[in-house]
């Protein structure tokens, strides 16, 4: 699988099941694109406790914050997104304030189905005009679809009028071939299931123009020989291995990791038509900053960026 297409992309949505490493990959991709000279903004969507804080050492705000050359980060919080949307539609500050200070209107906006998705997408479109590329750290695949689906369902809800006109623009944006999803998967059955479901929904490019990229994170490359497997089986089958049981159990654990990585790779390759990008476990522990650095070095090889080409923060 080739990552080169990312260099022309305008919108990159990074998603996957919970705990797969979405924030890590969104950050690494944003750093690499910035290192290649793309003016990049990395966004989190209305996060109560932004994960990007751990990576960049500063809490992202609604207003983009510079964290590295060519790279800004932000957190698209409600109601800031709503204010931005209303200002774009009405263009008179005091009137926007008047609307938002009315309790009935606020409750109305809170309830209107899809309001949050429409304004979020609209703000992403605004950012896309200001930057070369917008990278989004999405909450989870399901949420990614509610964001994309709104460009369809809102057309049913708004039969005419300014919201409909804006939604039509947003639909054109996400259907452009430069709008892409990056799916982060792990070699675990449930995660692979969800990845395949997501790929099936993206089939045909109706929702998102670009071809999805799949990264298989924490995948161990197979290295056990047939003879080693035989010996491990024999050790496991020993009725009373005595005190060596902890070694044999560790060996079986190691083998399961290897085999589930191979199985995940096969299943994803079948669905995608090509092999996913494999990234081995970082082995650098839980420090988000170090994990991002390690992943960026891995992905950088596919994007022509060496580890000396990217730096960030203090």
């Amino acid at each position: 699988m080739d990552l080169g297409g990312l260099l022309q992309d305008r919108v990159v949505l990074v998603t996957g099941k919970g705990g797969t490493g979405k924030t890590t990959y969104a950050s690494a991709i944003a750093l690499l694109l910035a290192a290649r000279g793309r003016r990049t903004v990395l966004c989190e969507l209305d996060s109560q406790r932004p994960s990007l804080t751990g990576v960049f050492g500063r809490e992202p705000d609604f207003h983009p914050l510079r964290v590295a050359p060519n790279l800004d980060v932000c957190n698209l919080t409600w109601p800031h997104t709503l204010v931005a949307y209303l200002e774009r539609m009405i263009r008179v500050g005091p009137i926007v304030k008047a609307i938002l200070s009315n309790e009935m209107v606020r409750r109305f906006l809170d309830f209107t189905p899809g309001a949050n998705e429409i304004v979020t997408l609209s703000v992403l479109a605004d950012l896309r005009e200001k930057y070369d590329v917008v990278v989004v750290d999405m909450p989870a695949s399901g949420h990614a679809f509610s964001l994309l689906d709104i460009t369809r369902s809102a057309l049913g809800l708004f039969r005419a009028g300014p919201v409909r006109a804006r939604v039509e623009e947003l639909r054109v944006m996400i259907q452009a071939p430069t709008s892409r999803m990056v799916l982060v998967a792990l070699p675990e059955e449930m995660v692979v299931n969800e990845t395949l479901e997501t790929l099936a929904r993206l089939q045909g490019g109706q929702l998102l123009g670009g071809k999805p990229i799949v990264v298989l994170n924490r995948a161990i490359a197979p290295s056990l020989s047939a003879a080693e497997k035989t010996l491990l089986d024999r050790l496991s089958a020993e009725a009373a291995p005595g005190d060596a049981e902890e070694f044999v159990a560790a060996g079986r654990w190691d083998r399961v990791l290897e085999e589930s990585a191979a199985e995940a790779q096969t299943r994803i390759t079948e669905a995608l038509g090509e092999a996913p990008i494999l990234v081995p476990p970082s082995g650098v522990g839980g420090n988000p900053r170090e994990v991002v650095r390690s992943v960026a070095i891995q992905l950088g090889r596919h994007l022509g960026v060496s580890k000396h080409d990217f730096t960030w923060g203090a």
């Binding site: 919970g18 705990g19 109560q48 209303l86 539609m89 009405i90 009137i95 008047a98 609307i99 009935m104 209107v105 409750r107 109305f108 809170d110 309830f111 189905p113 899809g114 909450p139 989870a140 949420h143 509610s146 369902s153 049913g156 809800l157 708004f158 039969r159 005419a160 009028g161 300014p162 919201v163 409909r164 675990e188 059955e189 449930m190 995660v191 299931n193 056990l224 020989s225 003879a227 080693e228 035989t230 010996l231 024999r234 050790l235 020993e238 291995p241 005595g242 005190d243 902890e246 070694f247 044999v248 159990a249 560790a250 060996g251 079986r252 654990w253 190691d254 399961v256 522990g285 839980g286």
Partner: protein
């Protein structure tokens, strides 16, 4: 120490919460099965079971209907185990039928243009629908133990708030405010609204378009009749959630992000006065430290079993097992430290129980029962 069987015996409703991928479905199913083994009539409501677990429970054959699981492989099970998968859209339509004052009112809503577009948004909120279905099952009288496996939600306890959101929006005050210009128009043939409201309406029309406001007004007029039904339903659901025989179980795995979410859940449940039963940490790795004896025993066993294998095999596998053991021990230590922080933070929040990672996948009743043995077998610590 706490006996979890005693806890389950006095519990009628169990809600498993936690982030995705931590074995929540397995925990929910293991709790249901344990109930059945103890003679209860249990049902597990699940959202998205792993395929093999679903197949073994017979869930593949059903669409949103309670299905009885064949327990004949476990002759000691005196009770019943049922399972069902959530059908969001079906649940939502049923809810509408339930709160409608008349079949005519129901049909008008179901045909409404705005409703049809909105229903997908609501039905899409599986969390809301799961709460609804849970209420149905718990009040059906057919089961005496109901276990819910909640969907992973973005903002923690959203699923408890969604019904409230409908009720808040649809309260009489806002309905009257919104519908005033439309109703008066019906009587007098023109809009009589003046002052702030008229101004606001003009602005809303500017933002949303007049067509949408007209559509919405028509919808709200039809929906008005359903308001009382929604409100009663919401109150009933909330009192069910706070009942003394309801228990929330927070499920997590020993990794930083899921433990973080678990801590957050414990705090949020307490804030909302919801009954916390305790915390389950799934998929915990176990591995003992090795000593010289173990090394010697391994060396002897490898030598004895590798005589017919290529000469290098014994040495490479030995080295490999040594490295794997070091890595697994490091993982065990790291998990132990993480779990310790959760245990400290969960103090006062019920039991704390670890369930070791089962080798191979939990995909049949026997392995599910084994999970139950770990969960209920050893007395749990009080967190």
């Amino acid at each position: 120490m706490m006996d979890l069987d005693a806890w389950l015996a006095k519990t009628k409703l169990v809600v498993c919460v936690g982030s995705g991928g931590v074995g929540k479905t397995t925990t929910a199913a293991a709790i249901g099965l344990r109930g059945a083994l103890k003679g209860r009539k249990a049902i597990v409501l699940t959202i998205d079971p792993a395929k093999r677990l679903a197949n073994s429970l017979g869930l593949d054959a059903m669409g949103g209907e309670p299905t009885r699981i064949d327990l004949s492989a476990l002759p000691d099970a005196g009770g019943e185990l049922w399972a069902m998968m959530l059908d969001s859209r079906g649940t939502f339509d049923a809810l509408i039928a339930n709160v409608s004052p008349s079949p005519e009112a129901r049909d008008r809503i179901l045909k409404n243009h705005i409703y049809r577009n909105m229903a997908d948004a609501f039905a899409g909120s599986q969390d809301y629908m799961a709460t609804e279905k849970l209420y149905d099952l718990a009040s059906a009288g057919r089961w005496d133990l109901v276990v819910l496996d909640t969907p992973p939600v973005k903002n923690a306890l959203d699923f408890l708030e969604s019904p409230g959101k409908v009720v808040t929006f649809l309260d009489e005050r806002i309905l009257s405010w919104f519908l005033a210009p439309y109703e008066r128009k019906n009587v007098w043939g023109g809009r009589l609204l003046a002052g702030t409201s008229a101004f606001m309406f003009k602005l809303l029309g500017y933002v949303f378009g007049k067509e949408f406001l007209d559509d919405l007004a028509e919808f709200l007029q039809d929906f008005r009749g359903l308001y009382d039904g929604f409100r009663h339903r919401h109150q009933a659901v909330m009192s069910m959630m706070r009942a003394t025989d309801t228990s929330f179980v927070t499920v997590c795995a020993p990794n930083e992000s899921s433990i973080d979410v678990a801590r957050f859940f414990q705090v949020e449940l307490a804030k909302r006065d919801l009954p916390r039963a305790g915390v389950v940490v799934n998929q915990v790795h176990r591995c003992d430290a090795a000593d010289d004896d173990a090394n010697a025993a391994l060396g002897a066993a490898v030598a004895r079993l590798s005589t017919d294998l290529p000469p290098a095999t014994a040495a490479t596998l030995l080295a490999r097992l040594g490295r794997a053991h070091v890595r697994l021990r490091a993982l065990v230590e790291a998990e132990h430290a993480l779990a310790g922080s959760l245990r400290a933070a969960a103090k006062g929040g019920g039991f704390y129980q670890e369930v070791p990672r089962i080798e191979g996948e939990v995909h049949d009743l026997t392995s599910l029962r084994a999970v139950g043995e770990y969960l209920f077998g050893a007395p749990a610590e009080e967190a």
